[in-house]
Amino acid sequence: MKVMNMVQAITDGLDLMLTEDKNVVVYGEDVGVEGGVFRVTEGLQVKHGAGRVFDSPLAESGIAGTALGMAVAGMRPVIEMQFDGFVFPAMNQIISHVARFRNRTRGKFSVPMVIRIPYGGGINALEHHSESPEAYFGHTPGLKVVIPSTPYDAKGLLIAAIEDPDPVIYLEPKRIYRAIKQEVPEEKYSIEIGKAKVVNYGEHITVVAYGAMIREVQKAIVLAKEKGISVELIDLRTIWPIDRDTIRESLRKTGRLLVVTEAPQSYGPAAEIISIATEEAFLSLEAPPTRLTGFDTVIPLPLGEKYYMLTPPRIFHEIEKLVRY
């Protein structure tokens, strides 16, 4: 075991997989000599060579499209989109090809590739550096989408993603890249894709969240506890496919649901989770399943971000409202 933050845990996972499997390559903008703008790939080029960890030209469609070619030939590319807002030039490759190549060829060619994307707000960044695009991927058949909320999960999910025979979008909540330190095993382990985790057991209400929001909900849980409210917190970890069982079991117990996600509200991740709740546990629901999400606006530049970001008091406010419903 070694104490790591999330960046270190991801680096460690990449290093481990590069060491273990010659088919793994890591590339993207500035991931080579520079080690990535967040230093996630730091040291990997020196250790594994410039044929395996390297810079690409500045073109995201190119990065995603070439990775598909490599994956089809049996390699396991792990590519980086430098920031959330820069994955959009790659959408055609991701939606039209990466997600579909296996189906199009009836399984003749599979696409074992991982697209790493640092994402989310709260870091006082320039425009396009604070987006939460996960719903676009969740809505795209053929992808799996995972989002860790701790260093431990980050490494375990990354290894699972790289070993997965199908393409995985791996979203990294950059706001908590260095915020949480945790004991992380140095050896190999993986976390099953598609399984949520109950992070906090409780009786009165279920909160479903993932990524950087987990920490914010945990802070809200402290506020709730003071008022005698006991909250069950589910960390989805995989947002497609969603672990319906864990949500259903929890709702049968609590009867109340709050979904907390940073992405814009309309057609967003929270709507999907609420629909699952009504499908799985309608008769258990004692209050309207509720979403607390980003606005249907562009995430504001740093001076306005405070309005957009979901804070523990806002989360608590919704929890209380629902429990008192």
Partner: protein
């Protein structure tokens, strides 16, 4: 034969086009020699006739309502047949959607192609063509896959080239640019073949680019390039064979503009009379690749046109039997919708499939 000196002589910037024979099949290069045996040449012509026959029949199956939208190949076959002769088993073929003869040479069965255009994904399995990607509909996007494959070949130390196809219209897409650039920067063995058939559906080349020719686009990436007469089988074969050697030796990409003409419709839903003239069509009919190769073979006494009728009649029988195979293909099953999205079917998909199955059972019970 095409070599480095020839490459130097046909600089795209000078807008020179490599041609071996004139429109009557007469060789116009002094001391020119082919890299193909006489048998190869005859076989190439037969293959061309086969492609042309299969293509015509595909159009008629479509007209009979037995197949959906289909993109005809008429006029562009020399490119395909030459590709087929050059591309080796270990090479990768990355198609756009209008290279029928090349696919067949790679090992694709005609019934698979029919099955695909009848609307079944199983037609993209290409059971006997391991290293061939499926048809790529989103224009130019496949060229990036070709570059990734080429990276993999180099990475694994395999002596294999990648051939990526695209149309003149496809050169306008951002992915064309990114593919050429990645290939050049990464030094990988990929041959880009632009089939410049003068149109992208109804849009003529002059509204697609102002560049004098498409080969010179290679300059922007320092990629060796050449413009070649795509209706001249001998020239096409020379250039493709050279390109394969070149990319493998240099571990560098190569760009070919094959100038040709789509003599048919864009697809079976298209009506070209809306956007082009009879004169233009007639002009290009005179440059037809089949006629030119035939004339060449006849002049070399390698071919007797009298044999064609019987040959084609035999082809037709075979093609019909392939179509029968496609028509006799097992019905599309519900599991075919869900079963290939992932290696292991996720619970969520099982749930959706079961829901639908339950509905079908119920419906069945009601009937």
């Amino acid at each position: 034969m095409f070599d480095l000196q020839t490459l130097d002589k046909y600089k795209p910037i000078d807008d020179k086009m490599y041609q071996v024979m004139d429109k009557d099949g007469k060789v116009i290069i002094k001391n020119w020699k082919t890299g193909l045996s006489e048998d190869d040449l005859v076989q190439a012509y037969k293959d061309l006739l086969f492609e042309r026959t299969a293509d015509q029949m595909a159009i008629s199956y479509q007209r009979q309502g037995r197949m959906f939208t289909y993109p005809p190949n008429l006029g562009q076959e020399a490119i395909h047949i030459a590709s087929g002769k050059v591309i080796k088993a270990e090479d990768w073929l990355v198609p756009a959607f209008r290279e029928l003869g090349a696919w067949l040479a790679k090992g694709v069965s005609l019934w698979e192609i029919f099955l695909y255009f009848k609307g079944h994904e199983d037609g993209s399995k290409f059971l006997n063509a391991a290293r061939m990607l499926p048809v790529s509909v989103p224009i130019a996007s496949q060229l990036l896959h070709a570059v990734g494959l080429a990276y993999a070949m180099k990475y694994k130390g395999e002596e294999a080239a990648v051939f990526g196809y695209v149309g003149d219209g496809g050169t306008s897409e951002g992915d064309f640019h990114e593919a050429l650039n990645f290939a050049a920067v990464w030094d990988v063995p990929v041959v880009f073949v632009v089939q410049n058939n003068q149109f992208a559906i109804s849009v003529p080349l002059k509204m697609q680019t102002r560049s004098k020719n498409l080969a010179l686009k290679g300059l922007a990436y320092d990629v060796d390039s050449v413009l070649v007469d795509g209706n001249d089988f001998l020239a096409m074969h020379d250039v493709l064979a050279f390109a394969r050697e070149h990319v493998l030796k240099k571990k560098r990409p190569f760009l070919i503009e094959a100038r040709t003409y789509r003599r048919g419709a864009h697809t079976t839903s298209d009506d070209p009379t809306k956007y082009r003239s009879k004169e233009e069509e007639e002009h290009w009919a005179e440059l037809d690749p089949a006629a030119r190769l035939q004339s060449y073979l006849v002049s070399k006494k390698l071919w007797d046109p009298k044999d064609e009728e019987a040959l084609i009649a035999g082809y037709k029988k075979f093609i019909d039997s392939e179509f029968d195979k496609a028509e006799a293909y097992p019905d599309y099953k519900l599991e075919d919708v869900f079963g290939f999205m992932y290696q292991e079917m996720p619970v969520e998909l099982k749930r959706q499939m079961n829901n639908y199955q339950n509905f079908m059972n119920l419906e069945g019970a009601q009937k």
